[in-house]
Symmetry: C2
Subunit: 196 residues, 2 copies
C-alpha cells in the first residue's frame, strides 16, 4: 500500500458521492420525492440478494451485485436519462461512454480496468450475469411505478405499448419475473396507472 | 417457484423502500442535505469494493458487501441512532433487535434465516468479515464529516476525544485505514472542524 494509492481511492469515493444528487423519474413508495441514483443502486443490489433464484441461467450473485452497485456511476457526469425520452436515449450511449472515460481512470490502474470491464459487461449484456442485472434494472422502476399508482407513468403519459416495447430486457434475464411483471402491467392499465 | 413466495419477496423489497427516508446525521459532500440510510448503505458497499485490500485479515468481499447492504435495514422500523447520542445508543440494541424480529420474517423462511444470520454476524463482529464491515461503517461518516468541514461534528459540538473513543472498531477491522483516519482527525482539529 502507498499513501498515494489510498488517496486516489478515497478521492474516487468522494467523487461518486455525487450520485446521491442525480434524480431519477421514479418516486419513492411513500410519494415524498423522486428517487436518486445512489438509492436506486442500493435497491437494485437488494433485488439481486432477494430475487437471485429467478435468473434465467445460473449467475454469479456477487458479480451481479457489484455490477448493479456501479452501473449508474457514470451518471455522476452524464446525468440520468429517462427510459421513454427517445432523444435522450439516442445520445445516452455516447454521453455515458465519455463519462466512463473520465470517471474510472480516477482509480488506481488495476481497479480502473476492473470496474470499467464490469461496467462494459453490464452495458453489452452478453453474459448471463449482465442479462440478469439488466433485467433487475428494468424491474425495479416498474415496481416503484405500480406501487405509487403510476406516479411517473402518469406524469409522462406513458402507454402500455411503450412499456411492452422494453420487455425483452426483462424476459431475457428472467422469464419468471417477466411473467409477474406482465400481470402487473395489465393491472396497471385496468387501474388507470398506465395508458392502454 | 410459487407465486406466494415471489409475492412475499416483492413485498419485502417494497417495505425496505422506507430506508430511503431514514435520515442520518451525515451531510452529503455538496452540503445540499443530510444523507439517508439507503444511500449510506450503497456508499459503504462501494467502500468495500474499492478498499477491500486494507482489511486486517483476508475477507470474503461478497459477504462484506451483502452485510453492508443489509446492516441498516432494521432502521426502517428502529430509526437511525446518532453515534454520539449516549442515551439513544443504550436503547439502540434492544430497539434494533425488535425491528429485526419484525422485518426479516417477512421474507420466505430460508431467506429470513440467512439475512438474520448475516445481520447478527455484523452486530456481533466476531468474524473478520464483520470486523471489516464495521470498520467501513465508521470510516464513511468520518470522511463525509471531514469533507463537509465538520458539518455534523460542529452541529453536535463533537470533540476529538469522542471520536477517538470509537477508534477501536476501525483499528480492529483495518489498521491501514485507521492510520489514514488518525491523520484526518488531527487535521480536522487543526482546521476547527472538530473540537480539541
Amino acid at each position: 500500500m502507498t499513501d498515494a494509492r489510498l488517496a486516489r481511492q478515497i478521492a474516487f469515493l468522494l467523487e461518486i458521492d455525487g450520485l446521491k444528487s442525480v434524480l431519477r423519474q421514479s418516486h419513492l413508495i411513500d410519494l415524498s420525492r423522486r428517487e436518486n441514483d445512489a438509492e436506486h443502486s442500493w435497491h437494485l443490489a437488494m433485488l439481486a440478494v432477494v430475487l437471485g433464484e429467478y435468473a434465467t441461467e445460473e449467475v454469479d450473485q456477487a458479480k451481479v451485485i457489484r455490477m448493479l452497485l456501479i452501473h449508474d456511476l457514470v451518471e455522476v457526469y452524464a446525468g440520468d436519462t429517462f427510459l421513454y425520452d427517445t432523444r435522450g436515449v439516442a445520445e445516452q450511449e455516447e454521453r455515458e461512454r465519455a463519462a466512463a472515460d473520465r470517471l474510472f481512470p480516477q482509480l488506481p490502474d488495476d481497479q480502473a480496468v476492473a470496474l470499467r470491464r464490469l461496467w462494459d459487461e453490464f452495458e453489452e449484456r452478453r453474459t448471463p450475469d449482465a442479462r440478469f442485472a439488466r433485467a433487475l434494472d428494468r424491474v425495479q422502476p416498474l415496481l416503484l411505478n405500480f406501487y405509487t399508482r403510476g406516479a411517473s407513468w402518469r406524469a409522462h403519459r406513458v402507454t402500455k405499448a411503450q412499456v411492452l416495447a422494453r420487455r425483452q430486457l426483462i424476459e431475457d434475464g428472467s422469464p419468471a419475473l417477466w411473467e409477474y411483471i406482465q400481470v402487473m402491467i395489465d393491472e396497471a392499465v385496468r387501474r388507470g396507472y398506465l395508458l392502454p
